[in-house]
Symmetry: C2
Subunit: 577 residues, 2 copies
Amino acid sequence: MVRKVVDAVMGREPFDTVIRNVQIVQVCSGEIIPGDIGIASGKVAFVGNLEEDCQAGEVIEGNGRYAVPGFLDSHMHLESSMMTPAHFAEAVLPKGTTAVAADPHEIGNVMGAEGVSLLCEMTRDLPLHVYMMAPSTIPSAPGFENSGADIRAEEVRRMLRFPGVIGLGEVMDFNGVADGDPRMMEIVQAALESGLLLDGHVPAFKGRRLQAFAASGIDCDHTYMDPEIAAEKLRYGMCVQIQERFLTSELMAYLERCPVQNRIMLVTDDVPLSRLASEGHLDSVVRKAIRLGLSPMKAIRYVTLNAADRLRLPRRGAIAPGRYADILLLDSLEEIRVSAVFSDGILVAKDGRMVRPLVSKPFPRSAYRTMKLAPLSEEDFKVRAKGSRVLVNVIEQDGKTSRTELRQVWFPLRDGCLAMPEGIAKMAVFNRYGRTDGRQIGFLSNMGGFRGALATTYAHDCHNLIVYGSNEADMCKAANLLIECGGGVAAVRDGEVLSRIPLPIAGLLCEDPMPLLAEKFEGFVKAAKEMGLNHGEVLTFITLMALAVSPKVKLTDAGLVDAVNKKFLPLIVRTIE
Amino acid sequence: MVRKVVDAVMGREPFDTVIRNVQIVQVCSGEIIPGDIGIASGKVAFVGNLEEDCQAGEVIEGNGRYAVPGFLDSHMHLESSMMTPAHFAEAVLPKGTTAVAADPHEIGNVMGAEGVSLLCEMTRDLPLHVYMMAPSTIPSAPGFENSGADIRAEEVRRMLRFPGVIGLGEVMDFNGVADGDPRMMEIVQAALESGLLLDGHVPAFKGRRLQAFAASGIDCDHTYMDPEIAAEKLRYGMCVQIQERFLTSELMAYLERCPVQNRIMLVTDDVPLSRLASEGHLDSVVRKAIRLGLSPMKAIRYVTLNAADRLRLPRRGAIAPGRYADILLLDSLEEIRVSAVFSDGILVAKDGRMVRPLVSKPFPRSAYRTMKLAPLSEEDFKVRAKGSRVLVNVIEQDGKTSRTELRQVWFPLRDGCLAMPEGIAKMAVFNRYGRTDGRQIGFLSNMGGFRGALATTYAHDCHNLIVYGSNEADMCKAANLLIECGGGVAAVRDGEVLSRIPLPIAGLLCEDPMPLLAEKFEGFVKAAKEMGLNHGEVLTFITLMALAVSPKVKLTDAGLVDAVNKKFLPLIVRTIE
């Protein structure tokens, strides 16, 4: 209640908590102010010097540490962590992330609006404040893939009214927007009419096509950023949200001198579990930005006040009277080492650990039943053809990123089936939602030395069952392991299960807390390397080869897709009798 | 529709309008960019260089003029103009004000929530975009005056749901907030729960009491501002809204170097009709700020992007794709001479004149019936007392401002009534709403030479009937003139009506357009000067002597009030038999 806050300032009531002797990083004015912070009813009541004998339920000694606002991640996806929201909160709160704007488009692809509603429910009442964005682009490439849902304007309108939803999640079909595709136009129109936020995803566009995208009302982007691109987007009134991988010293130098500062943010987008465990969350992005030359005051402002302004959260984002007391204590401003975390005025984490564990709410049974596929046989992994030799469209992966190229390779036939030449591996995609029986086999080059099979149901954005392998027996076994356990990842070589991690909730998440799950994934990545996978980022590789909105050639449950020109490619180009 | 905007950018549809060859002031990036502006469906679709042969319904030649976003006044009161909203719009649109956030607390004091609802209705569909704030402090000094309404939390909650209302209007009872007064706390709580804006009015407070005010969640102020006060308010996360009369070169120098720029605005608050006609509206504030050393880019940003951000209007405040095309063409950036005004993409004013007049909607009959007073007699203006001499608490006015002091003066008695010594005039206040029969007589010093009577029903904030005079006969006549015509202002000397301006709508507004009404008021002010009123600002004087929230001593319908210490003063202090 407001009265309690005012009364505490005026000394008519005790503060709930006083944090003594801190250097307050005041992002509202760009100053660092030594003093104390008085907290009442979860809010900052007073900032400055309090009397020695002022009344407080609890006094916390700051010992001269820096007090900064809790970090607010203005664009991210909870599901990348593969953990339940409660476990995710336990993982990121100690690192200083106290609020996130989450676009649940992964679970949305699996379970549709029901999945979104479920995450809204699961994130309510956590000490991590989760604001939800209604996913806009499900599936990500309509007509080129099939996921567990097909979200149109009517469904978007419904989701925008869910409690906790503050806007439309990243519109990824940027071509659809610029081309005036009716499906996207209706979805954008629904969001405009709601008056809520509209998030974008618009790599590659500049000039007129970028203006067409912005003219639709979608006013932010978190894809590839450099000074020139940032300048153009800011000029069109867009917010630029910068991910860790696009941070450079050139970009930091540009941001440092940018005359209009309030539309710049740092975000995480997707932080895979392994990086979360080893490097951190938004704190890691802030740290890197500072290391690359951005002043700590600006870097902190980008993940606090600016993010709160973007998300229209006027009561968060700063340590100022009347704002919720999301506060971090840091030993050093440059190192961003978080030693205490307050959420709504409550100390929730200390020295990198939660003060007490969070209770995970149970997911309903429907969330455990998203693997609607009958067991597969080796036959399902074979490609039959006529003739003696065939020219095949093959996906060439680069061993580092998710970017692929098209390559054409001659295959011999054996027993009426395509036989893989040296250096080629197989990729199979099975729609797992029972809405279609879509299934496709394709091939990957640059796979020399890979032996065995890797399977995953965590596969952007459709999250169909994907299997990569050197032989049908291992592929079939890996796939069936996942069908059995409701989804996850598996590694099989010569019939032996090297690793299996069930992700039974929507085939995306599991109930393990971070340390345990990170260890399991370490084992999985180790197995993949032992199997001879030459890709530096195992999870990037297995989860992105079916994503038909990232360049250039991908395999979906509907076929081989030229993702740039949005057209299907034949698997077999020529046949020699 | 969004599709039409996107299609226009991409050349699939013609633009509705193209403005050619302008210097675009891009407040989003702090740049000035030469180019063209393409408009479709009321929105900016494209900003930059368009082909010579691009399709457009209409092409307007900019001739190298500056294109700046329409000015947005983030704190003002429509009623100060004494015009209907349509006539107000006609007055300010040609000067470049295309949107306002209006706190209708004048009509709210007269007609309560019904008056607020009425202004919402009257301002809908105007080319001037009017966003309404629900008045919070009616009457302005509860317990010390009575107006036409008594607005509590329940009523505020109801008004916050009116279509067009975006927040709580300026909370003027700053002491009530800091002191935790239950009435104010409940009103603030209601606004916090609505999630809408909370506007403040907090002069004089600093340090702890200012923090108590800010801790309540009220996060802006438009009262007296200097560098020190602005710095403190920004530090507490508040927005500072600067009126013309507080602009100084010191303040401009401070703002120019302020590290966090986005919480600074320029506003008009109250612009009396006379100044509106002679000097302008928000354009005049911008002009003065620039003359005092603020860079044009910052000054313009303060009345466009910053104001739009404050009011949470992400589709206004900049000339950028997807934002409503509120655009001004200026011949010079320093002079701020507006030569063309577009509202939602439509040219509404040119060379200082409306392209076509606006239609005023008729106010309902209830708005014309707010003068609930029976005709008065001379007796009503006399103060009876016993004894031979009495010591009287007199209001000393300073001839320049609305600030008054307390003075004590010995009065002789004549026929059992107080007789005014030289230099003293009478002031009478009559509650005009029929809710109480409150009426008070008081005295003003420093009125030497004043002869006749001035009456007004426009009298902040209660808008009771106020009469100032040197004799009962003229006072009675002036009062009855206003009772007869439903309110307004009148000047009477020796029984002769020197000026009378009916303001029959709520006793505040009339149907005259600005030129006519300005001429009438010129006549009224001239009459007051001829009557020997020594106050430099006639309207300030007559409308503010009953305002019990401004220092120091005022007369309301409930009595003589010490406005600083919030207590009643006796009229007669001592009596000599």
